[in-house]
Symmetry: C2
Subunit: 185 residues, 2 copies
DNA sequence: CAGCGCATGTAAGATGTTACATGATTCA
DNA sequence: TGAATCATGTAACATCTTACATGCGCTG
């Protein structure tokens, strides 16, 4: 048996936290605009889960009345909220680490330094961008602090700290690699 | 189509880097004792891959002569080394983030602060232990530096930096949570 | 009217985990 | 002799990604 899917709980979490009816599309957008660097979901997961949760009466569907556009809104039921709370109380399962970049550096002796430098720069710049985005969000959150929970702010800080640490490591490693490249030429 | 498996390349990488015949069991042990915090493999993956790679002539098997114990040793072929080098030159694929702890904190408003504190403490102590282990390895590596490549040392530094950043964030967050717990009582 | 963003959904297929099965050897 | 470690392997099953399919509404 494979590890139990946490997608249903993520959906329940978004619906429970925001306390308003959302469509599958909305849910995806919320995830992408908040915890995307820590958790991602695809439509291929979300839509089937929405049906499953409805069948289990953990969420309920209602057709959107406002517009003519096809749009199904879901809200969490008391049963769903209970289920969510129970899951939140459970210890997070240890994740399986998957850091291909580190692996490629680990095998660096079988590769060429310029390639490694390229990979590192590329990831460094992405981590840097992520860090700046989180910093930006933090700034916004501090201004209008009634629309953010302190918990959300904590995750933003995690984003800033972890991104910066990565950038710091990348810079240090790039320095080392550049020195190695020079000395072996 | 799901994301392409990188297990074959990990096996090729270990065999290529160490340049000596290893068994499936050995390979697992090497991974567990080096990059385990960045990459993990299970026997359920390794053994089938070993057969596959043999069929493709990227590695070759030889029965262990030394002992009577059932033990199959594999070594990389030139073709395998070429394949490995090509993979190492490719840009690492972006990983799908999966940080259940951050998610649970993000949904913190639907949970109880003591639970969150428990989860955080538990992960903080594991990150701290990982950080200390990497620090230890770094110390050893510096002493007998001919048995470690500079690339391996770089990954050890990554372990130290990332673990410390996590611990730093956890401590900051625990402080916040404890203050919140007091003020809402 | 073309293109983009909104919006929902399905199918195929590889991936990876867990559990199980088996047996040898070493050490207390 | 029993437990732990060494050692290889298979089966079942859920998970997840990618690709595809479809169609509406708004904007330039």
């Amino acid at each position: 048996m494979a590890r139990k899917s946490r997608t249903p709980m993520v959906v329940l979490g978004i619906l429970g936290m925001l306390r308003k009816p959302l469509s599958g599309y909305d849910i995806k957008r919320v995830i992408d605009n908040s915890v995307s660097h820590f958790w991602a979901e695809s439509f291929g997961q979300i839509y089937p889960v929405l049906k499953l949760l409805t069948a289990e009466k953990l969420i309920q569907a209602q057709a959107a009345q406002e517009t003519s556009r096809k749009r199904i809104l879901y809200s969490i039921t008391p049963k769903g909220a209970k289920q969510l709370k129970a899951w939140l109380a459970e210890a997070p399962e240890p994740e399986r680490p998957r850091e291909e970049l580190i692996l490629k550096i680990f095998f660096g002796s079988e590769s060429d330094i310029p390639h490694l430098i390229g990979h590192l720069q590329e990831r460094r710049s992405r981590a840097n961008a992520a860090g700046e985005q989180y910093t930006q969000w933090l700034k916004i959150a501090r201004k209008q602090n009634e629309s953010y929970t302190p918990f959300q702010i904590m995750t933003l800080r995690a984003g800033v700290i972890m991104s910066r640490a990565f950038v710091q490591w990348a810079d240090q490693s790039l320095l080392t690699l550049n020195q190695m490249r020079k000395s072996t030429r």
